[in-house]
């Protein structure tokens, strides 16, 4: 049963990181959506049941920079994968089990992101794609820039980034701020439509 739950968690994480290095290792043939029932164990905020955590996946980059990734797994592990600083180096990657307090904080922020309406889109120096999966609920996905104004998604992203001991690769870029898909290779981002 635990193995099945773990496989489901891996499948969800793979969905959230579609087309990423992590997703490449996902087991083939996994369902593309979570089964409607039964769900076991239950959500982290609950009346009864065993707590687990939402799966969160974030891809982020500057317009000319490579893609960085941070994720939270169902069992409470924070994972990160940042590109190498020098050609030929290996990527910076890590994984650590978060404390109960840290997980509670991230889960609550994810809960708020889940119910909040998206903030008005605007260009930014750093843009992130965010995906959240709570068991038994539809996925939440958004693309938004990092800004110094409070939004639940910004708060979640920055709370996760603070827990990572390594620094992401976010080179400053020339030119006007614009919208882009951080999962794309920088060369492929040219011509991305501006945010509505």
């Amino acid at each position: 049963m635990r193995a099945l739950t773990r496989m489901r968690g891996l499948a969800v994480l793979a969905m959230l990181f579609a087309n990423t290095a992590w997703a490449a290792g996902a087991p083939a043939g996994q369902p593309s959506t979570m089964p409607s029932a039964p769900i076991d164990p239950f959500d982290y905020s609950y009346c009864g049941g065993k707590p687990v955590y939402p799966v969160i996946g974030i891809n982020f980059a500057t317009a000319c920079g490579p893609r960085n990734q941070i994720g939270l797994g169902r069992r409470g592990h924070l994972m990160w994968l940042f590109p190498p600083r020098h050609e030929g180096d290996t990527p910076v990657r890590g994984k650590q089990l978060l404390t109960e307090a840290e997980l509670k904080r991230l889960s609550l922020l994810a809960e708020v992101v889940q119910i909040a309406d998206p903030a008005p889109a605007s260009p930014g120096a750093v843009i992130y794609n965010l995906g959240i999966n709570f068991q038994g609920r539809p996925d939440k996905r958004m693309r938004t820039p990092v800004s110094d104004s409070y939004t639940p998604a910004n708060a979640l992203f920055q709370a996760m980034l603070k827990l990572v001991p390594d620094a992401p690769l976010l080179p400053a870029c020339e030119g006007a701020l614009r919208d882009f898909d951080p999962t794309l290779h920088p060369a492929e981002r040219v011509g991305e439509p501006a945010a509505p």
Partner: protein, 203 residues
């Protein structure tokens, strides 16, 4: 040399991100801010006196909303008790808040059951029930998850459910979210802060 400049740029950008964390942290509230405030579509449910009631309530009050059911063994009674304590804490200002208990158990909860349940806690709360579709539609807007555990007889079942409290403003928008374990004093402090801000905005 070039790499040195890049390192400075990267460090600067990362510092800006961390600084952004400080600026963006919703530390001023005890609850988690829903920004922009979430507008609800709502629905029509029945209150404990069997009156058709639009939710969010069409009243000029703030609403503290939570989901549960009358057969709930632990978290729902505790939340109602906590709500009563919050109203006590707010004293004369408590009239500005209406607690709203929404049943997620359309199989057993009706207006009469809700009225009896709420009476036990002596809390001035609105209890809402309704048909499964209407309740589900409202619960979905809050992302409330419910799972049923069947007992030995048809009506012997328990429900696991999300246990958050949601603070709605008088326009019926979700402004803050609290875990079920939130401190009364924190919710009261947040309300007073929001009222101050509201008062300042109207001046």
């Amino acid at each position: 040399m070039v790499w040195h400049i890049w390192r400075i740029r990267i460090a600067g950008l990362f510092s800006a991100l961390v600084m952004g964390t400080v600026l963006a942290a919703p530390a001023e509230f005890h609850g988690l801010r829903v920004e922009p405030p979430k507008v609800l579509h709502g629905g029509v449910l029945l209150d404990q006196d069997s009156r058709e009631t639009a939710f969010p309530l069409k009243r000029d009050t703030w609403q503290l909303v939570f989901f549960g059911y009358t057969h709930c063994p632990d978290i729902c009674p505790m939340t109602l008790h906590k709500t009563g304590m919050l109203l006590n804490e707010l004293g004369s200002e408590s009239a500005r808040v209406t607690p709203v208990f929404i049943s997620i158990d359309s199989g057993r909860d009706n207006p009469e059951a809700l009225r009896d349940f709420l009476k036990q806690f002596e809390v001035r709360a609105v209890g809402l029930s309704g048909d499964p579709e209407a309740l589900q539609a409202v619960a979905n807007e809050f992302g409330v998850l419910v799972r049923r555990f069947q007992g030995k007889t048809a009506l012997a079942y328990t429900l696991e459910h999300s246990s958050f409290l949601y603070l709605l403003d008088p326009q019926g928008r979700v402004r803050l979210l609290y875990p079920g374990t939130a401190e009364i004093s924190g919710i009261a402090a947040d309300l007073r802060r929001l009222w101050r801000e509201e008062g300042a905005a109207h001046k």
